[in-house]
Amino acid sequence: MSAAAGHYSYWITVLLMVAGLYIVIARGNLVKKLIGLSIFQTSVYLLYIAPGKLIGGTAPIVAEGYAVYSNPLPHVLILTAIVVGVATLALGLAIVVRIREMYGSIEEDEILAADRDDGPDR
């Protein structure tokens, strides 16, 4: 049973991850898919950061009077991951804006339908 308690932080991660992924796959709205995608990416942060924490430790800024610090490496990695996430989001939104201008819709089904009427080579 203690194993389950010790892995509590992972369960939360898993829940968020899957919820995000579900939004991405199941929803047809292009913006909503991107939001789901960022939740999916955000959940990974916890997977990395949570195990780096040591109870009784402090933030990894070395100062007198502290001996136990949390692991700094995951923090660095996740900083990078956050940046990558927002870069992807910005680019995704730019593409969605262009899609909206060209198709007049941001619903996947409507766009696909518009494409079918469009060319014979599909």
Binding site: F40, T80, T88, I95
Partner: protein, 494 residues
Amino acid sequence: MTFAHLPILAVAVPLIAAPVTLLLRRSTPAWAVATTACAFSFVASILLALEVAARGVISYHIGSWPPPWGIEYRIDALSAFVMVLVSGIATVVAPYAWRSVRAELPRDRLYLFYTMFCLCVTGLLGMTATGDAFNIFVFMEIASLSSYVLIALGRDRRALLAAYQYLILGTIGATFYVIGVGMLYLVTGTLNLADMASRLPEVADTRPVLAALAFITVGISLKLALFPLHLWLPNAYAYAPSAVTALLAATATKVSVYILLRFYFSVFGLHLVTESLPMPEILLVLSLAGIITASLVAVWQTDLKRLFAWSSVAQIGYITLGIAMASIDGLTASVIHLFNHGITKGALFLLLGGVALRMGGRARLEDVRGLGRSMPLTAFGITLAGLSLIGVPGTAGFISKWFLVLSALEAGRWWLAGTVVATSLIAVVYVWRFVEAAYLSAPPADAPAQGEAPWTMLVPAWALAAACVWFGLDTSFTVEGAQRAAQLLVGGAP
């Protein structure tokens, strides 16, 4: 002095070229900078390959920090081989883009195309050269983000949707990869691939490692468009600008294959991959399913870019089939095919770009009727590359299929060898459809006045088409390089 820094310079020079092209804001200097940077990387990669062949693995410590703490660049036979392919294709496509992209993009955004081009090459080379799991992710994102933009720049509005779908699937793939790497990091405490490999046996066969294997496999498979995760590929290739299609088809999926090989054989090790999970069996089934379905779909396509895009999905199947054999011969076949298919598809898409330029942006089967007379060089080039795609003796494609069949026979799998030969016959059908249209049909009466493609496009394209023949006759570079790489992979596993 500079020679010792080649591993990093091969990646850093295109990286520096990217902001320079942005600051120049003029398309001609930007093009010159991009082409020079790619050519520099190509020379550097060749020198690295020679150096590796002579002296073995090169390890370069970025920031002078020793490996598990700092980031290490690690060039061995396999990564040098892939770097030569990537930078070589980039060096051929860059001069081609000069004329091709001007027809497809608005003028005031041309320089941004070269910025993206440099970034894409940087990302792909960075993924190949690095020996750090997280660094792979960062450069994978550089390559992916820039390729989303490059695809979205296509002039058809469907290019936008293709780019969007690629963005969603690509990001899911990258995130899966990060999850897998995170699990490996949590059980080994390191991100350096070599260090990870040496510490994995202690924890092999534990659940996180197996889950990590699964996540990394799925993540990378999305990127390399392994059947059934290939859905983004045909649209992306069909609607991207011609130069982009050629670059991505020839390099992007190949680098993903490289990452897969790297993880399977250099990190997890042959033992773990083949025995703990039924990975070879799964790969085998998926590869065969991919080859057969995608080839059949290709036969029914009327748009030539889509046709060859589907054929790419099939060809990726042959590459993963070699991995699934998990033997030195299989891997050799896989690595050779990676290279040969790269140059073949590069040649095909470059030549098709020339056709599209003359036909007002399209390259459908009905557009190429009579191409043998109106654009004889282009038509002949496509036919040549098509023969290489089928695997006719005397072309590069034959060499890789030959090794694939050989390795199947050696493993005693007659039926597999038979399937490889039989599926190549499907390739004959779709290549024949082009030949029939180009040489045996009369050109449509209302055909626009056409000439040969401009020489700035024809020369690079023909360079690759000629390479298909060259590497079919002189196999010393590909076969020896691939054999060294395969031995390294199998023997290098702990």
